[in-house]
Symmetry: D2
Subunit: 323 residues, 4 copies
């Protein structure tokens, strides 16, 4: 459900157009310096406003409701809240029966019997990644000296990302992308057989991020077409260092001391400016749907910091287990 982690455990809540979104972070060690301004750098990386992202601008100011005293974590649960401010009112009730293709409108409506908050995607909105990003800021402090860096490697199948975005905007369309994440300074022995492999926990988290539809570790899908003699990583040091890193730093689900490397596939935002067809689930008639408003031409631009945050949460939990 809305919690993740065994020891460093986050619980997410909120809606896109409700009071706000937030997260409770349990299992955070005491004594970690923490202030509102510590969130700025990562939150700004997730922010919209630049080319290819929605012009909806939110101040995204985090408010620490609990778990911090004298600017240090106390060991009690931390709660970070982001109030919503820039929400446009419109007739969401009228749209409730006209599910947007590729969004969670239809599934949410079915699952919750029509009681879900439909405004801006409600609890399914990408805005909830704001809360993940905030929890990631805390997790990153815990996992030092591990460093995580995620980058957008291609968008719409194009390595020239700027060009790809220009084309998508011009076509009133959206594009997906591939984000690669690398962690350095990872100790050996993280991960637990049989069901809590590093890959299991990481993918569990990644597929919680809206729009992610694939993940691969190390050589991943390419490994499927390789021979064992090529794919095997030769161990060249008693620290576990390998000559290559086709296994992405993980053997038997456990970190081997090399960099962890994985890539996630981000699908194109389903919200596009061109008209689309869908069914009205009340009238059983096809409708021509125009999603006006503010869209991300390439949501993948805003995903890297969320991927980093999600992975930092996984590592903070695994480090706790390992101690």
């Amino acid at each position: 459900m809305n919690s993740f982690g065994r020891h460093f455990r986050v619980t997410i809540f909120g809606e896109s157009h409700g009071y706000g979104v937030g997260i409770v972070v349990d299992g955070c060690p005491p004594g970690i310096p923490l202030e509102e301004k510590d969130f700025e750098a990562d939150l700004s990386r997730r922010k919209s406003g630049s080319k290819g992202t929605t012009p909806r601008k939110e101040p995204d100011l985090p408010q620490i409701l609990s778990g911090v005293y004298n600017n240090h974590t106390t060991g009690a649960p931390l709660t970070i809240l982001f109030a919503n401010t820039n929400t446009r009112s419109r007739d969401y009730e009228a749209l409730k029966h006209i599910p947007r293709p590729g969004h969670a409108d239809f599934t949410a409506s079915k699952k919750y019997g029509g009681f879900h908050d439909p405004r801006g995607g409600g609890h399914f909105s990408g805005r909830l990644t704001l809360a993940i990003t905030a929890a990631g800021v805390i997790a990153k402090k815990i996992i030092v000296p591990i460093q995580i860096e995620a980058t957008l490697q291609e968008a719409g199948g194009n390595l020239n990302i700027s060009e790809a975005i220009d084309q998508a905007i011009e076509a009133k369309d959206s594009i997906g992308g591939v984000v690669q994440c690398r962690a350095t300074g990872v100790p050996t022995s993280l991960g637990e057989p049989f069901f809590d492999s590093v890959e299991s926990l990481t993918s569990h988290m990644m597929f919680s991020i809206p729009a992610i539809k694939g993940i691969e570790f190390g050589s991943g899908f390419q490994a499927a077409s390789m021979k064992g003699s090529m794919n095997n990583d030769r161990i060249i040091s008693i620290t576990g260092k390998t000559a290559t890193n086709h296994d992405g730093g993980i053997n038997g689900g456990i970190t081997n001391g090399n960099d962890i490397v994985f890539r996630v596939a981000v699908k194109p935002t389903p919200s596009i400016s061109s008209p689309q067809e869908t069914i009205n689930i009340k009238t059983n008639q096809m409708e021509r749907l125009i999603i006006d408003g503010r869209h991300d031409a390439c949501i993948a631009l805003r995903i890297p910091v969320v991927v980093e945050a999600g992975f930092a949460i996984v590592l903070a939990d695994l480090l706790h287990l390992q101690k």
Copy 2:
């Protein structure tokens, strides 16, 4: 750790060359007909012995230790045990310091301080998928009318799988493969936001299966290079039926009533007949390693039924949550 699932919960145990491998299945509803012979069909699909698989043959006879009375499940935990019979003795202690590339030898040794059972991979052996397969037989009975079918689509990058295996055997090498899994008859509304999406739970399970290094749902990595207008699945019926299925039957982490489709990447077995180099972690010297014995040239041949089983376990758990 070694448990998976919230309601339909499996706990796995055992080693490749120890007493045996087994699984406890908790949360199984009472009244389901179950006998030892029900396991035969799926277990034989996982069996070795055919071209491209190891000649180690085990009778793989399941023994039901608990949870069944008068050939029906009782509602109490089911335990299925497979005794090991065909294990070859050899000097594993001598090999303990010479980790095989691509295997869990190094990570297990580090994590467990040298106390792990090294014989045939111990608890990290692919033999534990026998227990998953057995639990899957039970799960498949629970999820009716949902049907799951997984097939090997390509091996070593070759769609002609028989040819690919011949080449691998001749080269004394191993090859990976891609397994596609499809579930039909899936109801809407399975899956839980935010962290227990169908993709999250499924990938969590899949990455527990040794050798799996990638997963994608629907158009997956291909979606990353598609435009939204192409990737969006047009909804054409109030039951949620879509014209295409690029989202693999899942929106917002919740099933939309279409088939669930995903693909996993299986890496080539690290055990190959050709000599390899590795480090002796005791002497800090490079060693020339020859892994004699019995190998799978293409372990992916035996994976489809395990993927089915793992996915059936996930669905049995999700159906329980949904009720």
Copy 3:
């Protein structure tokens, strides 16, 4: 840690003198009518101000931050926040080294290395039961037609509770009490062997409530001195109705259809007006401690509604499992 429940899962946060206290309620079914005013009746039962309770008065206004739309639950996590308003500033840092006997001051200091929030007990304050009470209001709506009623049966060993309180106030002392809780309309079959018996889950929750030091079901400790022939409850109807109810409505950890009855022991509030001795953990000197401020002479007066709330949460979770 700070979460309880498998399906109907609450996550608590906050401090006595920080921003506020709150709770996230996950797994609440959609479509349940809910407004801020629904909390009034139970919150007022927990309120202080009457004889024997602290004169610290808080408005205790709940704010719904998420999970409600159009005055109905949506199925997404509900967050209820109570801002603190009536907090007195004082020199808590000076008192940080002088642990009050019977409180969590010493253990919190040890566990969190001195980083805990010491003001008014911080995260260990009885004020967090406000959040439990709020979650209980929601749970009570879910478990209908089950009705729960808890009452204070004795205080300071005296059945005349008003008299007992007068005496305690006069003596500048505090007294404990025994609260009995009864649930009517309970269906059969709630509870799960082996480890999730109704008694296990209920006691787990009850001992989370500060000051509770004992629990017994049915005839409880009295049963230990009874004979089987007296203690056995004769079954007199095929619905499971029994002639007596020494087992408190539970056999083998599972509800048998009779009323569930349990009693909890509440210890006297450790905060008393008389001077006490304790150690200064910094100077290693004994100190004479006077806890001025506002105390409850009998905290047990305010506990019944908290016990009801906690038990309603347990039942909401069990009903979910049972479906």
Copy 4:
């Protein structure tokens, strides 16, 4: 369900008259010496055969199925199995509709729709405490230098326990008892607010043991009639040592470094030799029930070692969390 613990996690299975009973112990650290003979001492304390216990004698030989290699734990899950040998066949199907008062017959029948194994109580049998005792042997090795000792303090309300048992046998009746458990050498800081207090986890475990109907920590129910000035434990040392121990070594749910002390109430075995009345749930007729066979006049005699085991499991889990 049938698992307990977050890190040191046990999963129990089996039936009284089926193949056997067993337990999987996950999260056990590697390198702990363990052999079958290590179980002897505790298992013999639980054994029947002496005055006041059932004459059914089982050899109770533990078989280690997994997780041990070269007589040391490996870090992989340990499985301990006890095969049943001394089971008497009788017409359990005929008795399936005649629930014994005070037993789980009625509730099991309702919950599992009649598919439960009724033989000797099936999965609800006290025989499953054999598995708990075995897991406790392992846990006790982990928690060193903590020592746990549980003793039967009174039986049938009589401090002269031998006399009480003689009287019960003569009366063809059964009696309950009170077991006190004390742990010495306990470090500070075990236990987690808000919901995983030491009392919460301990009581959760204790109420899983069949026949236990009450628990109190420190002065427990007596505290309810005490004044704060009497009940408060004066702290006399910077190590947390207190002059008295009314709080049973726990404040705010966290260990304070003093001995942990708790007492559990064991109800009299419902199986008695005298005739009883019950309802036939098939015919809706009252029946005169004579439970022949082998009974414990005082099951509480066999409970202390089970209480120790259960508490050792709790402490092993808490120590893991604390690290």
